[in-house]
C-alpha cells in the first residue's frame, strides 16, 4: 500500500515534535507527485492562529479550500459546515430544512452541545472526501489532516463509535457508519504518529499507537522526526569521546543526541510492529524543503 494510494492521512503526535511541519512537507510532496492534495487543520472556534496556514504561506484558513499551487490546496475543517451538511442530508426538503437552517437557536444548540463540535468536524471531512469533480473523480485525491494534541485525536477517531453508542439508528448513524467504514479501511486511510527519537516522546507514541489501535484507525506508521545522522565509525567515536571528556566543546550535545536517538529508536522498534520512517535532523530555520525532498522520495516506495 503506497502512501499516495490512500485517500486520507491523519498526522498525529504530541505538541512540539514537528507534526505541523511534517504535515506541510507531506502535503507538498504529495502534490509534487501530481495528486490533487488537500492539507487540513481543525479550525479553532476562537479563530485566529493557524500553524499549518503559516507554514504554507497563509495567515488564516477558511472552510473553502484555498488553492496554493496546481495540485495543493489548504483549508480548515469547520464544524458549522458539517452541521449544515448533515442537516441537509437527514431532513426532508421543504419548509423544515429551510427553517432549521435559519434557526439561530438550533445553531447555538449545535455549538454548545457536547461532542457536536467534533461531529461537525467529522461531517465536514466526510463532505470533502466524497466531493467529486464533473468526471466523477474525487475533487481531493489525497487529504492530509494535521491532527491536534493526542487527546483530541483520540476523541475524533473514536467519535463514530461513541456517537453510534448514543445514536444507534437513523440517518446520522448511517452517515457515521459510512465515515467509519472509510476511516477504518486500511486501503483508504492511515494514521501517522510523528515523534522524536527521545525517551519521553517515544513512550507517549507507543501509548498513542495503542489508543489508535483501540479506535480501529489503520496505522500507517511512525515518522521518527529529527533523526540525527551518525557519521562516525566506532574507532573515531572512541577517540572523540576520550578527547571531548577532557575538552567540553560545541558538538558534545550532537554526540549525546546520536546515542539517545539510537536508544530511542531501538525502544520504538521493540514496542511496535508499525512501519518506522526516520526523517533527517535538519538544522536550519525552515526544515520544509529538506523534509519534502525526503518524503517525496519515500512516497514511491513506502508500503
Amino acid at each position: 500500500m503506497r502512501f499516495l494510494d490512500r485517500r486520507i492521512h491523519l498526522i498525529t503526535g504530541k505538541g512540539g515534535v514537528g507534526r505541523t511541519t511534517v504535515t506541510a512537507a507531506l502535503a507538498r510532496a504529495a502534490a509534487r507527485h501530481g495528486r490533487r492534495t488537500l492539507a487540513l487543520e481543525i479550525g479553532d472556534p476562537d479563530g485566529g492562529y493557524s500553524p499549518l496556514g503559516r507554514l504554507l504561506g497563509r495567515e488564516t484558513l477558511s472552510e473553502t479550500p484555498a488553492r496554493l499551487s496546481q495540485h495543493l490546496s489548504v483549508a480548515h475543517l469547520w464544524a458549522p459546515v458539517g452541521h449544515e451538511g448533515f442537516l441537509r442530508s437527514v431532513l426532508p426538503g421543504g419548509p423544515l430544512i429551510k427553517s432549521a437552517l435559519k434557526s439561530r437557536a438550533l445553531r447555538k444548540f449545535l455549538d454548545a452541545a457536547p461532542s457536536f463540535h467534533e461531529m461537525g468536524v467529522f461531517f465536514h471531512l466526510l463532505l470533502l472526501l466524497e466531493a467529486t469533480r464533473e468526471d466523477g473523480q474525487p475533487e481531493h485525491e489525497v487529504i492530509l489532516i494535521d491532527m491536534p494534541a493526542t487527546g483530541h485525536t483520540l476523541a475524533l477517531t473514536g467519535l463514530p463509535d461513541l456517537l453510534l453508542g448514543l445514536i444507534p439508528r437513523g440517518p446520522v448513524a448511517k452517515a457515521l457508519r459510512r465515515g467509519q467504514a472509510f476511516m477504518n479501511n486500511p486501503a483508504q486511510a492511515a494514521a501517522w504518529v510523528v515523534t522524536l527519537p527521545e525517551q519521553l516522546p517515544v513512550t507517549e507514541s507507543l501509548e498513542l499507537l495503542d489508543g489508535l489501535a483501540r479506535t480501529q484507525v489503520p496505522i500507517g506508521g511512525v515518522l521518527l522526526n529529527r533523526y540525527p545522522d551518525d557519521p562516525f565509525d566506532p574507532e573515531e567515536r572512541a577517540a572523540l569521546d576520550a578527547f571531548m571528556a577532557q575538552h567540553p566543546a560545541q558538538g558534545g550535545l550532537a554526540l549525546k543526541r546520536i546515542d539517545q536517538a539510537q536508544g530511542a529508536a531501538d525502544r520504538l522498534r521493540a514496542g511496535t510492529d508499525a512501519l518506522i520512517v526516520s526523517l533527517p535532523e535538519v538544522w536550519v530555520d525552515d526544515p520544509g524543503p529538506v523534509l519534502e525532498a525526503q518524503l517525496h522520495a519515500a512516497m514511491r516506495r513506502t508500503p
Binding site: G48, A105, G165, L166, T203, E236, L240, W283
Partner: protein
C-alpha cells in the same frame, strides 16, 4: 515596579498560572516553580489537569485523587524541601471533578443521580468545550481565600489556544443561555417560543430519534442548572485574576513558531481580556551552549590517534549547527526580553539531558530558576562524559 526575579515572584504572589500551547513543558515548569517556592519555605499547592503518569510518580502521588495530596516526608527530603516549606499536588481527572461538582451542586441527590446516569453526560461531559478549563478555575476557586497554602501554582489544560483557559466562563456560558436551552425543554412560553421548540424537537427527532432527544433534554436541563451555580465563582475569579495576587506566565519552547504563537496570545489576552501577562518562560533552551569553544580550535595531544583527526573533521558541521542553534535560542530569549519590556520578565530554563528522570528534571529546573543567570548549563554540563 521592575521585572521580578523568580524568587521575588514566588514570594509575592498567591497564585501563579502557567499558560502555553501543548508540548512546551508547561506541567514540568509548573511543578518546578512549586518546588522552588516550597524550598523557600512556602506551603505550596500545584494543580494540574490530566497530568502525565511520570510526574505523578516523581512526586509520589496518585493521579486523580479527590483532593490535594501532601507529598510524603521522604519525598520532600529528596527534593530538598524543609519545614516550614511543604508541597502538595492535585492531579485532576476532569471527569472526576465534573462528577464531584454535579454531586455538590445538584438541588437534590435524585437530580444528581439522574444526571450522572444520563447517557449523554456519561459519555461526553469531558468533551464539552471549555469544561477542563472550567474545572481548573473551579479547583482554583476553592483555594483562594483559604490560608492553608501560601502559593497555588496552576498548570492550565493543554490546548491549542494557550489562553483558552481565561475565557472558559464565556465559553461554557453558551450552555447557560437559558433562552436557548429552554427551547429544548418542554414547557410553557409564548407562541414564538413554542414554534421554535417544536421545530427543534422535530429536527432532533428526525436526526437522532426520540430517545436521544429526550436524553439531550434531560442533560441540558440538569447540567445548565449546575453551571448556573458555578457561574458566580467564575465571575469572582475573573476579578481575582486581575488583582496583584495573581501572575500569569506564558511558557514557550525555543522555536520560532512557538514564540510567534506566544506573542499572538499575549496580544490577544491584553486586547480582548484586559489581562496582563507577568512574563515569559523560554523552556528547554540550549543558549547556554553558545559560549563553548568549537572543537577544531582545541589543541590536540601530540600523540592523538589519526582517528581523532578524522572524527573532529566529521564533528565540525555538527558543532557548527549546534552553535547556530544556541545562537537562535539566545536570540529568541532576547526577543522575549524586549517584548516583556521593563515590567515583565523573560526567564530562560535550560534543556535538561534526555534521560533525566522526572525527579531530576524537577530539581534541575527548580535550581535553574533560583540561579540568577537563569541560563546556566544544566547539571552535568555539556560534555560527552
Amino acid at each position: 515596579m521592575s521585572a521580578p526575579s523568580p524568587a521575588q515572584l514566588l514570594d509575592a504572589r498567591k497564585v501563579i498560572v502557567c499558560c502555553g500551547a501543548g508540548g512546551v513543558g508547561k506541567t514540568t515548569v509548573s511543578a518546578s516553580l512549586a518546588l522552588a517556592a516550597a524550598r523557600r519555605g512556602k506551603r505550596v499547592l500545584v494543580v494540574t489537569i490530566d497530568p502525565s503518569k511520570r510526574l505523578a510518580e516523581a512526586l509520589g502521588v496518585d493521579r486523580n485523587p479527590p483532593e490535594p495530596v501532601a507529598l510524603a516526608a521522604d519525598r520532600l527530603a529528596k527534593l530538598g524541601v524543609q519545614a516550614p516549606g511543604s508541597l502538595s499536588a492535585w492531579m485532576l481527572d476532569p471527569q472526576l471533578v465534573s462528577d464531584t461538582v454535579v454531586r455538590e451542586r445538584s438541588r437534590t441527590p435524585d437530580e444528581a443521580e439522574r444526571l450522572l446516569t444520563n447517557p449523554i453526560y456519561r459519555n461526553v461531559s469531558a468533551m464539552i468545550a471549555g469544561m477542563q478549563e472550567y474545572t481548573a478555575v473551579e479547583a482554583l476557586h476553592a483555594f483562594v481565600g483559604d490560608d492553608q497554602y501560601d502559593l497555588v501554582v496552576l498548570d492550565t489544560p493543554p490546548s491549542r489556544n494557550a489562553l483558552r483557559f481565561l475565557d472558559a466562563p464565556d465559553r461554557v456560558g453558551a450552555f447557560l443561555d437559558r433562552r436557548i436551552f429552554n427551547l429544548f425543554v418542554p414547557g410553557e412560553g409564548g407562541v414564538i417560543r413554542r414554534v421554535a421548540s417544536r421545530l427543534i424537537e422535530k429536527v432532533l427527532d428526525t436526526t437522532f430519534g426520540e430517545d436521544t432527544r429526550r436524553d439531550l433534554q434531560v442533560f441540558f436541563e440538569l447540567f445548565s442548572q449546575i453551571l448556573g451555580h458555578l457561574n458566580k465563582n467564575q465571575h469572582d475569579m475573573r476579578a481575582f485574576f486581575q488583582s496583584e495576587a495573581v501572575s500569569f506566565l506564558l511558557v514557550t519552547s525555543p522555536a520560532r513558531e512557538a514564540v510567534t504563537e506566544a506573542f499572538f496570545f499575549e496580544k490577544k489576552t491584553r486586547e480582548e481580556l484586559g489581562l496582563h501577562l507577568g512574563g515569559y518562560v523560554l523552556n528547554r533552551s540550549l543558549a547556554w551552549a553558545a559560549d563553548l569553544p568549537m572543537p577544531d580550535t582545541l589543541r590536540r595531544p601530540v600523540d592523538a590517534p589519526a582517528a581523532l583527526g578524522r572524527a573532529l573533521g566529521r564533528l565540525a558541521p555538527l558543532a557548527q549547527a549546534e552553535a547556530q542553534l544556541a545562537r537562535t535560542h539566545a536570540d529568541l530569549a532576547s526577543e522575549l526580553r524586549n517584548r516583556a519590556g521593563d515590567h515583565g520578565f523573560a526567564w530562560v530554563l535550560p534543556r535538561l539531558p534526555d534521560g533525566a528522570g522526572a525527579l531530576e528534571a524537577l530539581i534541575g529546573l527548580a535550581d535553574a530558576l533560583m540561579t540568577d543567570g537563569l541560563a546556566a548549563s544544566p547539571a552535568g554540563g555539556p560534555t560527552t562524559a
